[in-house]
Symmetry: C2
Subunit: 208 residues, 2 copies
């Protein structure tokens, strides 16, 4: 004896999400059953609409409900600064800082031989294509900064190295590669930092 | 700048579930976007079907997709043993033991003045009605056992006390009230048990 079939199906659907175990899936299914029919319909409709309308920006691969995303469309953003991120989540994290005023390029992943993700699986051809178009329109004295905002994991470093090589093959001296600074998180206790972070923070120390 | 509107809506919907924080909601939304349109449609359909088809059993308030649940319909179940549980979750937990062969009555809650749940909010009138019908059909020498499978929290004890009084008002000597034994969990270390559980286990000790 288990739950009635439609309920078992519902629990099973929730269990397909990552980090949702049997107890959480059960709790979510019961929560849903407690809603009004209108609320449940709205939930189902929002799910379908999200899938239907959300597309990748054809320029930077951010998520958007039109062809080109809001950031790429925004004339106030500096197109000469392109921040390269692994995912849309990282893009949003950077946007939340309200510091960066350039545009983005979302790789859609990170080189990871263990997970079978190679450079070909990332949006890198699209990156070189858009950079070529942009460089063709730029003045010879202008600079195009690529900010690598990728985490310093093994996969992240491999990806950054790959992009670095790709850009040197490009051979355009107007491209300038930078990457995010690594060090102690602001406000964190020194003895809570892992050794690598601490070592990097020490290495990259600045005049006080 | 946040996510595109349909995605924000989707994340917001997932956040409405208990224990789902912003990060989990975001992860679930992204997982959903990675599915094929067919998978997403299936998910939405299962949600709507669950809400549409799942009803409460008109006899015991278990969840069912017909009028009377499978347990109440099963002729092999002993209708002279009615186990009273707080929720369908508890019913399923008991069913998983494969020990109990009687039927159920789901209260749909527990008396909790703090949460504003009184005896009137529970399926108690329905309990006395069904018991009355059953007693009318029973022989004078038969017994009807009500097993209170309710946790020993303050609310649980209040609920059990209420049902006990309700049954004594009923004044039918064929009704026999029992409740689950409380003691050490099987396999648990003695020093991990809380004092109340340990005291109860000591009190209820049996000949070895």
């Amino acid at each position: 004896m288990r739950y009635t079939k439609p309920l078992e199906d519902l629990i099973e659907e929730f269990r397909k999400f990552p980090t949702i175990g049997p107890k959480s899936a059960q709790r979510m299914a019961f929560t849903l059953l407690k809603k009004t029919p209108e609320q449940v319909e709205k939930f189902a409709r929002i799910i379908c609409e999200a899938k239907e309308h959300i597309k990748y920006c054809s320029k930077c691969f951010n998520l958007t409900n039109s062809v080109i995303c809001e950031i790429c469309q925004d004339p106030r953003r500096d197109s000469k600064q392109v921040c390269i991120v692994e995912s849309v989540k990282d893009l949003i994290a950077l946007e939340r800082t309200h510091e960066y005023r350039g545009i983005y390029h979302v790789l859609g992943g990170i080189i990871s031989p263990l997970e079978g993700i190679s450079a070909d699986d990332l949006n890198l051809t699209q990156l070189t294509t858009r950079l070529q178009i942009q460089l063709d329109e730029m003045n010879p004295e202008d600079e195009l900064e690529l900010v690598l905002a990728i985490s310093l994991s093994t996969e992240g470093e491999a990806t950054m190295l790959y992009i670095k090589r790709l850009m040197s093959q490009f051979g355009d001296s107007r491209i300038k590669l930078t990457r995010l600074a690594h060090g102690l998180p602001v406000g964190a206790d020194l003895d809570y930092a892992d050794e690598t972070t601490l070592a990097r923070a020490f290495e990259a120390r600045v005049v006080a």
